[in-house]
């Protein structure tokens, strides 16, 4: 496989944009990425796009085709990837593979989303054969309640407190103040977070990300092409996709087999470990991590499950500020999903854009000092997960 570079990235700011279509958001992000890469639309040889359940795509998930028609139909191959909230990362991996295989020199990866209001109705399918329907109709266990159960167990196992959870939210919003693309750019105090309404005990409103509209794009290319365009490319060190294992103890249906070992997000662990392996790098090499913080709980669980810290150590890192931009293990210096809101299928590409800016040293006041290696990770419905490692 040939080396792959991230040549240009672009983002439409996140928020709620009643007057703009998802295609409008994607156009902004793509034109920014093309300009950043210093290439014209005609130079793009293929498009890998996240397929949205909520917006655009002609009712068939054809979001990449929408983007191509909007920018001008050149005949390029289009790949529309569905992977729940992991779709953006999944599309990035396909774009990466198209370049790494030698099939294309320049590929555009794009994810954009206009979200419906309020909490997401997960599946929309009302049939007794649909697991999500059964979970909601028979029990009424929302996404935040599921996270709440996992978080509550952690509190019992490791003594995690409500203050630990709130500290993560405070850190996220402190970072967001420095990010012009973030939806919420206001700092919060620990008290403000702890006084926000309880959504699903033990998780509060300011500890769960809302939904947003947004888009992100990345132009990736072969080493040969990159060297013609820039002297400071950002490289894809490793990229991986995985799904959940049968016996990880996560009740994705009404039930699961009792796990033989620790309950964990096996899909994310497998994706990250595979990305490490492909990159020939490990946890110690990481300058920063952009992980999927739908809930602050993930910032405690994921670092441990991936071997970035020891078991039960995540709370100590949070207490000591080590997950801040200048800490030992910077997590989500962008402000994360907590500050952006989740535009589901855009998020994997959003992470690639953020990591690229950090690795170039272009992240301004939220810059991680001497950022050399970054990890991005998403997780989505269906047991999907993705991981991407970028390096200077």
């Amino acid at each position: 496989m040939t080396e792959v570079a991230v040549l240009g990235v672009g983002m439409h700011p996140f928020g709620k944009f009643a007057d703009r279509s998802v295609t409008d958001l994607c156009r902004s992000a793509v034109l920014a990425a093309l300009a950043d890469a210093g290439i014209s639309w005609r130079e793009v040889e293929a498009v890998a796009a996240a397929s949205s359940r909520f917006s655009g795509g002609k009712g068939w998930g054809l979001n990449g085709n929408d983007v191509v028609e909007d920018l001008g139909s050149t005949g390029v191959p289009v790949y529309n990837l569905s992977a729940g909230c992991a779709a953006g990362g999944n599309a990035f991996h396909i774009g990466y593979t198209l370049v790494a295989s030698g099939m294309h020199d320049v590929v555009l990866v794009v994810g954009g989303e206009k979200m419906p209001k309020g909490f997401i109705q997960t599946s929309g399918v009302e049939e007794a054969t649909d697991p999500e329907f059964l979970r909601q109709r028979c029990i009424g266990v929302s996404g935040p309640a599921f996270w709440g159960m996992l978080c509550r167990r952690r509190m019992e196992d490791y003594g995690t407190t409500e203050e630990h959870l709130a500290m993560i939210a405070v850190k996220a919003h402190a970072n967001s103040v420095h990010n012009p693309n973030a939806r919420f750019r206001k700092p919060f105090t620990l008290e403000e977070v702890l006084q926000s309404p309880m959504v699903c005990f033990p998780l509060r409103l300011f500890e769960i990300c809302p939904v947003s509209d947004g888009a992100a794009a990345a132009v990736i290319c072969s080493a040969r092409f990159a060297r013609r365009k820039t002297t400071k490319p950002v490289w894809v060190a490793g990229s991986a996709v995985a799904t959940a294992r049968f016996d990880d103890g996560m009740t994705r249906h009404l039930a699961a087999v009792s796990p033989p070992g620790k309950t964990m997000h096996s899909e994310a662990k497998l994706a990250v470990e595979t990305a490490f392996e492909r990159a020939g790098l490990g946890p110690r090499d990481l300058s920063l991590v952009e992980l999927q913080d739908n809930t602050v709980y993930y910032e405690l669980a994921f670092p441990e499950e991936w071997g970035l810290c020891a078991e039960g150590e995540a709370e100590r890192l949070v207490e000591q500020g080590e997950t801040g931009p200048t800490g030992r293990l910077p997590i989500n210096p962008s402000g994360g999903f907590q500050s952006f809101g989740e535009a589901t299928t855009a998020m994997g590409v959003f992470q690639v854009a953020e990591l690229t800016w950090q690795l170039r040293g272009d992240a301004g006041a939220r810059q991680v000092p001497n950022a050399r290696v970054g990890l991005g990770q998403t997780i989505g419905l269906g047991g999907n997960a993705t991981a991407v490692m970028l390096k200077t």
């Binding site: 309020g118 909490f119 997401i120 109705q121 009302e126 007794a128 329907f133 059964l134 979970r135 909601q136 109709r137 028979c138 029990i139 009424g140 266990v141 929302s142 935040p144 309640a145 599921f146 996270w147 709440g148 159960m149 996992l150 978080c151 509550r152 167990r153 509190m155 019992e156 196992d157 490791y158 003594g159 309404p197 309880m198 959504v199 699903c200 005990f201 033990p202 998780l203 049968f246 103890g249 009740t251 249906h253 009404l254 039930a255 699961a256 087999v257 009792s258 796990p259 309950t263």
Partner: protein
Amino acid sequence: MTQRIPVIEGLFAELPEGPRLLGSRCAHCATPYFPRSPVCHHPDCDAGRIENRMEDVAFGPSGVLYSHAVQNYPPPPPAKFDEPYQPYAVGMIDLAEGLRVLGRIATDDFSKLQGGMPVELIVDRLYRDGDGNDVVTWQFRPAEAAGHRNQGRRKP
């Protein structure tokens, strides 16, 4: 007269010996399933992929709470509940049969819920429908009432 209607047919039953979850077990590799599954989904169980090698099993009533949360806000459709909305607890319960099951936890005092505590299966109201019938679902309640107080409780 108020009738009890299962929220979805075929998921649970109120048998003479008590409430049970209606599941399956693979005759080849013994993997348990809830709800019933016509085939085995264990990745190493080739035999399970041949239909009709699954056996019907009734699971419960005893389990241990793995963890819980409280649904403090009204969940979106297709969830259903009585108005005005009252927060309820949900949990993951490890059954002795090797199955981890999701379910509501029937309790008035969320603060008493603790990982490791014994729970038992019941069938109780989820909501009252437009015809005045009780739509019921499987739930779990702390087993203290049955004399298991403190038994199996686990301190962090």
